[in-house]
């Protein structure tokens, strides 16, 4: 029970930090509570930093009226598509290059160059190519996800134990079966290990893409609000995005736990509770 207690205490402290943060925010931006310390006008702090009660009211408004769901849905769709396409591409090309030393030697400098290029800068080009709909955002997300998956697959194939490989060959595996039963599971385990990273980057790609030009999505909401200096809505959008990212991360953790049962975790013992 003591560990449960400690956990409860920890949660309490974490909540206190959050409350203090919002209180400070409120106290420092409210036009009436404190005299203006830094700004000439008492309203200026609220103009620049927003007011937490208005931000929360905005979020409440979005969810109670249901108007946010459409935008969240679009952002989620873009994230999922970017993740799926980027992962499949990374997996295929990673497997190919890892298993073909010649191809890998030829493409090596280009892969390195493409990876070090600041790919967010491609967003305007994608807008021109794919229009302002979801596909330009998906494309940006794909370029971000691809390299994470690619490098992990490459590593995963290279790290296959030579003994396991020799053993499987002795057990009669053909080249195709080697790929299917050894390289692929090993590579996917590395991909799953980077799941948090790649889902996170797919999300970044979607939001940044929306922010740079779109007609729907949470990034679009933020862009619109910024255009009319509605700081409260901007912060509301940021908070919603943060919460959404946390939720995505939690889902990924659950999936990861399911898929990687075969992985040893430190100090795992069987207990009869």
């Amino acid at each position: 029970m003591s560990s449960n207690n400690a956990k409860g205490k920890l949660r309490l402290y974490q909540l206190i930090v959050l409350a203090v943060f919002f209180l400070l925010w409120y106290a420092l931006t409210s036009p009436t509570l404190l005299p203006a310390i830094y700004f000439d006008d008492a309203n200026q702090a609220a103009f620049f930093f927003g007011e937490p009660q208005k931000v929360l009211a905005r979020i409440w408004d979005w969810f109670s009226s249901g108007s946010i769901y459409e935008h969240l849905g679009v952002t989620l769709l873009e994230t999922m598509l970017a993740f799926a396409i980027g992962t499949v591409l990374g997996l295929l090309i990673g497997l190919w290059l890892a298993l073909s030393p010649v191809a890998s030697a030829i493409f090596d400098p280009y892969i390195t160059a493409a990876n070090s290029m600041p790919r967010v800068i491609l967003a305007p080009i994608f807008s021109i190519w794919f229009g302002l709909g979801i596909w330009s955002k998906v494309a940006l997300g794909v370029t971000l996800v691809f390299f994470i998956v690619f490098f992990n697959v490459y590593q995963g194939v290279r790290e296959v134990s030579p003994v396991v490989l020799a053993n499987v060959r002795m057990l009669g595996a053909s080249q195709r079966q080697l790929l299917r039963h050894v390289y692929l599971p090993s590579a996917t385990s590395w991909v799953f290990a980077s799941l948090h990273n790649s889902v996170g980057l797919a999300f970044v790609g979607a939001v940044v893409g929306e922010y740079l030009g779109s007609a729907r999505g949470v990034g679009y909401l933020i862009l619109q609000a910024e255009g009319v200096f509605d700081i409260n809505t901007v912060f509301a959008g940021i908070l919603v995005l943060t919460g959404f990212a946390l939720a995505l991360d939690a889902v990924v953790s659950v999936i990861e736990k399911r898929l990687l049962v075969w992985r040893p975790s430190a100090g795992e013992t069987e207990r009869s509770v």
Binding site: S161, V163, V164, A166, N167, V168, R169, M170, L171, G172, A173, S174, Q177, H181, V182, P185, S186, S189, V261, W262, R263, P264, E268
Partner: protein
């Protein structure tokens, strides 16, 4: 009679990838034969190229010179009439014990239900009933070896190649496993080439012991028939006078080579 496995005048020279002039001859002019149903142990000092020989027999490594014959036919590619038990962990960590055992059947296109049935049968034979769903990391070292044993035996290979398979186990587990191996072997009488650096293990298990010289340019320097009666219990047979006699005799040949190997490692 045609031997099950014949390595004829095998030489293996490794060339350094960075410097072509750097060469290392691990094995030189070695001939090794295993008759049908015979249990041959190969002993030699550490680092003398024993594993190299076994990899050649398995078809995993192409010799620089010499030929391999399996039941009279020259070997090309992987030796698919042989099973190989490795010294290191060789199970697929992402497959459960049962799935590891039946993977060879899966490669041969055996139906899942039948494969699972045979797999469960083997789980029972190696004393792991109820552990089929565990992943390798959830099993002890001895259990993992048993899974490896079942994984190889389920395919019923005519030749068994074993590369110090029990060297990582503690003494008690090791003797249990050796007895289990002898039981399995006597039931199915396969040809076995068993590599070890432990002379006692070699004598306790085998019909014939081949002693290799220290590397480089390893070659056989002695061959001894082990005429101890079967069935044997590996922990008891070590105490019989004849065992001790054989041990003294073979050790006399081996001692010098072990010292040579030791000196080379010091360098």
């Amino acid at each position: 009679m045609i031997p099950a496995l014949a390595l004829e005048n095998i030489s293996c020279t490794f060339i350094s990838r960075d410097d072509r002039s750097q060469r290392y001859t691990a094995v030189k002019d070695t001939t090794l034969v295993a008759e049908e149903g015979e249990f041959v142990c190969v002993v030699g000092p550490t680092g003398c190229g024993k594993s190299t020989l076994l990899n050649v027999a398995a078809g995993l490594l192409l010799p620089s010179r010499g030929s391999v014959r399996v039941f009279g036919e020259p070997l090309a590619g992987i030796n698919n009439r042989a099973g190989y038990l490795f010294q290191a962990e060789a199970l697929m960590p992402w497959r459960s014990a049962l799935d590891n055992i039946i993977v060879g059947l899966e490669f041969r296109g055996v139906e899942r239900a039948e494969a699972a049935e045979r797999g469960n049968d083997w789980l029972k034979r190696v004393g792991l009933t109820g552990f089929g769903g565990r992943y390798p990391h959830q099993l002890s070292g001895g259990m993992r070896k048993r899974v490896s044993l079942a994984q190889t035996f389920i395919l019923n290979p005519q030749i068994l190649l074993m590369d110090e398979p029990f060297s990582a186990l503690d003494v008690q587990t090791r003797q249990l496993m050796e007895n289990e191996l002898l039981d399995l072997w006597s039931a199915e009488r396969k040809s076995v080439v068993f590599i070890t650096h432990d002379l006692e293990e070699a004598i306790a298990l085998s019909d014939r012991v081949v002693v290799l010289s220290a590397g480089p340019e390893t070659h056989p320097i002695g061959e001894y028939k082990i005429d101890l009666e079967r069935p044997r219990d590996v922990s008891e047979i070590r105490l019989t006078p004849h065992f001790i006699e054989l041990h003294a005799q073979i050790w006399h040949t081996m001692k010098e080579e072990v010292l040579k190997g030791y000196v080379q490692q010091q360098r």
